[in-house]
Amino acid sequence: MEFNEIKAAIASQFPEAVLGEDLNSTPKTLILEKSALVNVCEFLHGEEGLYFDSLSCVTGIDNGPDKNTMEVVYNLYSIPYNHHLMLRVELDRENPGVESLSSIWKTADWHERETFDLFGIHFANHPDLRRILLPNDWEGYPLRKDYQEQEKYHGMTVVYDRDEPAS
């Protein structure tokens, strides 16, 4: 099934859901309305002929304070049919949040925890949204473009002034 057919199948079920597409990307991307994400994914996962049974990767992207948006990118694959699809949702940067997909694909559980950890994107209905890579008492979200490291962590200096010679 080609990208256009997948897009048409989604559009016929959820006319409002698809906001746009990105044909330049590999695999091709559908930009979705974030409130429709879970329903579309349930459809993609369960529908005969589509059957996207494997969620490969969840990526958070911060577009910086100028654009003031964040994005979450999902890479879906169908093992029996060998379909490839990339989904993207755009989020508000002030209060980024989107529904969790962990009820459909268990892979999303840890990937979303990681995205939460490094970007501060909140995944609603996630079973266990804790930091995963960084310590629990770390301040800030390091992969945001305007991230400033905290000065001290447990008494250890985090950022050294590079001009100052180590004594």
Partner: protein, 403 residues
Amino acid sequence: MNIQYIYDKDHLKNSEPTVNNEASIKKEEMLINIGPQHPSTHGVLRLEVVTDGEIVKDVIPHMGYLHRCFEKHAESVPYNQVLPYVDRLDYVAAMNSEHAYAMGVEKMLGIADKIPKRVEYIRVLVAELNRLASHFVAIGTYGLDIGAFTPFLWMMRDREHILRLLEWASGARMLYNYIWIGGLFYDLPVGFEERCVSFSKYLKPKLEDLKNLLISNKIFIERTANVGVLSRDLAINYGVTGPMLRGSGLKYDLRRVDGYSVYPELDFEIPIGEGQVGTVGDCWDRTWVRFRECEESVKIIDQCLERLMTDHKRDKEFDPRAVVPKKIRPKAQDFYVRAENPKGELGFFFRADGRADQAIRCKCRACSFVNLSVLPEISRGHMLSDLVAIMGSIDVVMGEVDR
């Protein structure tokens, strides 16, 4: 320099708190921490285990002890300078990771079809050698985990032969930086192919020995068969890939599915777990798949060597850096590349904006990270000693989990 760490007894509680506490577990249950400094966790992984007697009720992995900010680094250095960091993700299979990363950036630049065939064959050759080395570590340490010491020594001995070969080619023992974007660091040293041929001859009977010593050993089978059964549906739902997925009985190998590099020109089989001694998807099946993959890798190496010595012979004019770009600046795009690593699907997501030499975002989809997430699911209800067996059969490398 100033005094660094300030001791406080609440630090551990604050930085990595346990999910369970005395109030949340039942009276007869016990909370046990395994790791982060424990040999059977294969690195710095901490498992919070709730047990009832010797039965595992729940396992909660805590990780991040080896977090080195790979993704943050990848946003601040140019594409070609990320390669050494890529080595350090899965440090026992650096060649495979490099291959995946270089392939992704080449495809983004649109130079993937200009890479000379000899370069591609050398890449596959070194990647398969490294796959062997990685599986040797996996099988050897797995034996060690469950009480077989000799296979570990045998595997390390044979792995060392591979590491010496790769050191000869690249100059480094484990972290090679050999596969470059657009080519190779250098052509293979003179005589490398011949040495590889004799190594392949040496290795085949050794694999037979391994099979007799460990894989079909009665004690090993009793320790691993019917333990930690991972069903196929659960494996797919958890995104588990590599030998773990194939151990659960699905013939799914990205070298065949995506057919990248020169793999479509090579003849090899995809072994799957069939439950010969227990249930499909148990610990033994995963080890069996790894062992069979070693045999297949030797087959691939033989074919690569044959082609490197006939069709794509060493040539004075050959320049492995001919297509290496001076400046790496892909067009604005999102790109996801995936490749079959010894441990599963290694993926890289790139976003390029067309103006910068660095990626705007580079996400690494680490196979060990995803494979580890299934551990709580398959270890519930097993004995505590089986938890070690299950943990070893997942074959995680913490460098890749924590990135």
